[in-house]
Amino acid sequence: MATSVLGQAGTAAATAHHEQTGLWSWLTTVDHKRIGVMYGASAFLFFLIGGLEALLIRWQLAKPDNNFLSPEAYNQLFTMHGTTMIFLGVMPMSAMFFNYMIPLHIGARDVAFPRLNAFSLWVFLLGGIFLNASFLLGAAPDGGWFGYANLSSKQYSPGLNMDFWAMGLQILGIASLAAGVNFFVTILNMRAPGMKLMRMPMFVWASFITQLLILLSFPVITVALIFLMFDRLFGTNFFTPATGGDPMLWQHLFWIFGHPEVYILILPSFGIISEIMPVFSRKPLFGYSAMVFATAFIAFLGFGVWSHHMFSTGMGPFADTFFSLATMLIAIPTGVKIFNWLGTAWGGSIQMKTPMYFALGFLAMFTMGGISGVMHSAAPADLQQTDSYFVVAHFHYVLFGGAIFALTAGAYYWWPKMFGHMLDEGIGKLHFWLMFIAFNLTFFPMHIVGLHGMPRRVYTYPAGLGFEVWNQIETVGALLLGLSQLVFMWNWWVSARKATPAPADPWGGATLEWAIPSPPQVFNFGEVPTVASREPLWDWRRAAGGKLPEPPRVSGAGIHLPPNSFWPLLAAFGVTFIFISFMLMARFGPWPMIASASLLFLSIFNWAFEPTH
């Protein structure tokens, strides 16, 4: 300890860390907590936009032969709904928790590369704005979130629509990859003393494996999108059958990315649930090691099942069998997780608080989605279900019933930590019940109409096929689901006005974030903690023989924090403009590209040579 004291004495003159204020401080921030909040706020906004798109779709489908939406508008809306929810909703909401929670969970003061972290945020935000700006030109992407070749070729999609899609996804991919490198290094290198890998909170494990999936799958879609872009802009032959090109190549590359992407969407949610279940059951997570290995096994298998999205393309019995079996195997580690969560709650002293409501809702809904998933892992069954509303029901049960329920649970769980006040429990429970009932009203009937043969991605359906009633129920459900999100926001408003101050540890948590004041100070930990088990706070509480005293807010003088920087924001503009320049090339030549590349290089050079001490 002596060195520490000397170290502090040397910088005793340093000023205490005060919370920075003003717009500029947010634009130049490198604080993982602020970046997390901005991720969350933008993701929720995009989530609402994606939700409005869904409501328009539901309004159109409320009655047969409806002409509320044109087929063209419908194509744009379902494409943007899928693309938005996946890349601008669920992924960045998970990124909010990565950003805010990983450093707190592992006892670090920030991520490994704070400026790269800001860069990821800004690239994501600009990419999302760019993608949605296509609506202003009336040219939103309209080829599905999977962008199948050669429907996406210049010949069949002559407008700017699919250019926006390809460029937008490239931009978003860069944000994910930069964040992937950052969190991978952060988790490996920045853990507090004693925080061995097998002592990390499950959320950190799940995030770590998610980053691995991002790092290994995003380069593949990058290449696929480059091919698409070249075909559309430069007339290459990647996906043109006339010159020997094969549209199947797109499907393979897309799903080699696309299936791991499914786990990129759900694994962080598994992590959140694995944090909430033990705390509200007052028991350690059941089968921690099994959970870690199950997560790793899911990720590993996730790279060997991509062709189950392609059973109807006629790959032959050998491929169909292989991918069927590999897909069925995934049910095993997933089942391990479900039973371990149940085992965690079993015999526990269950605290029925709002986060626990959403966590239990997740368990039930995700299991249902998982079971319909096993149903179409069998190729012959899938041939009956593919392209029908049954599939739409399946992936909404895992992505909404799964991911969104878990992310909402996480929001209720960590809200007091992030904003320093409690969310209202009454409104929270109302939110849960409304969302739970509305969710099932919206998506359960889709199983039925799907099995009756209602095709997805089609803008209307004829009367007299028995689809009407179910579709009306679905539309009512969707409206209520929208209302439940308003209840959520009403809760923010009410709770912020009431401002019941949150103690450091409102739930009796087990992990390090509950050891520091709510909200955390800019440097997170006045003193870097030393960890001796998986539940450090429970150890400390046991040692103290009861509740821990409220941690004081300290001055933090002498703690070195990286200074703010606006180069990440500028570099993010450079990246975004480079991709926009591809679309401008036909009209303006190489000049926009040269200007944007110069901006990027200028920012990177200044970034590299910026003093950080």
């Binding site: 490994a112 790092l215 380069p219």
Partner: protein, 210 residues
């Protein structure tokens, strides 16, 4: 003593590997999948062309009767490959110079590395121009499409590497690439080796395999 570094901006990395070095390894791992996809596509489309010109065989356009020579000329690209491989060796010597604080050694070998990189990029520019004159454009056939995309993205990586090493050269000339900061060069060198290794795969797969 556990808290000796509690106030440092970057506490000792848990793995013992510097954050930036671990990051470049992670990035390289990710890049493997990028090049694997490009090379995989090249292999899948190999020999599927309905029209030439072809990499190793002559082709007569049935419409015009015009004869197209085989595209590849192995000697030049073999020499370019050798130059690129030697540059990997040179950058190791440059790094050793930086670590020893031997400025002369650092400047010599770093300069040679950059020269080799520039030569390789120059060779590729010449090759692309020459191939276009021989009738192989990006749009001509699948071979043109996949060949230019794969080698073009590799060439872009080499170019970025040259710019990166060039920036370090400026630092070295100004005497700022000291022994304590040799890690800056080590990270760039890791990237440089990776780009070379990718070429070791591309060269036989694209140019030599018939």
């Amino acid at each position: 003593m556990a808290h000796a570094d509690a106030h440092a901006i970057h506490p000792e990395p848990v793995t013992g590997i510097d954050n930036r070095k671990l990051a470049i390894w992670t990035f390289i791992g990710s890049e493997c999948l990028f090049f694997a996809s490009l090379i995989g596509t090249y292999l899948v489309y190999r020999g599927r062309d309905t029209k030439g010109p072809f990499p190793h065989a002559e082709w007569t356009d049935p419409a015009t009767g015009k004869l197209f020579e085989p595209i590849f000329e192995i000697p030049l690209v073999t020499f370019g490959t050798a130059v690129l491989l030697f540059s990997s060796f040179f950058v190791v010597l440059a790094l050793s110079g930086a670590q020893e604080g031997n400025r002369r050694k650092l400047l010599t070998w770093l300069g040679l590395t950059i020269t080799c990189g520039l030569f390789f990029v120059g060779m590729q520019v010449y090759e692309f121009t020459h191939f276009v004159h021989k009738g192989l454009t990006l749009q001509q056939n699948l071979f043109g499409t996949t060949f230019y995309t794969l080698t073009g993205f590799h060439g872009t990586h080499v170019t970025l590497g040259v710019i990166w090493l060039g920036a370090l050269m400026v630092e070295a000339v100004r005497g700022k690439l000291t022994a304590e900061r040799a890690l800056n060069l080590e990270i760039a060198a890791l990237y440089w080796h990776f780009v070379d290794v990718v070429w070791i795969v591309i060269f036989p797969v694209v140019y030599l395999m018939k």
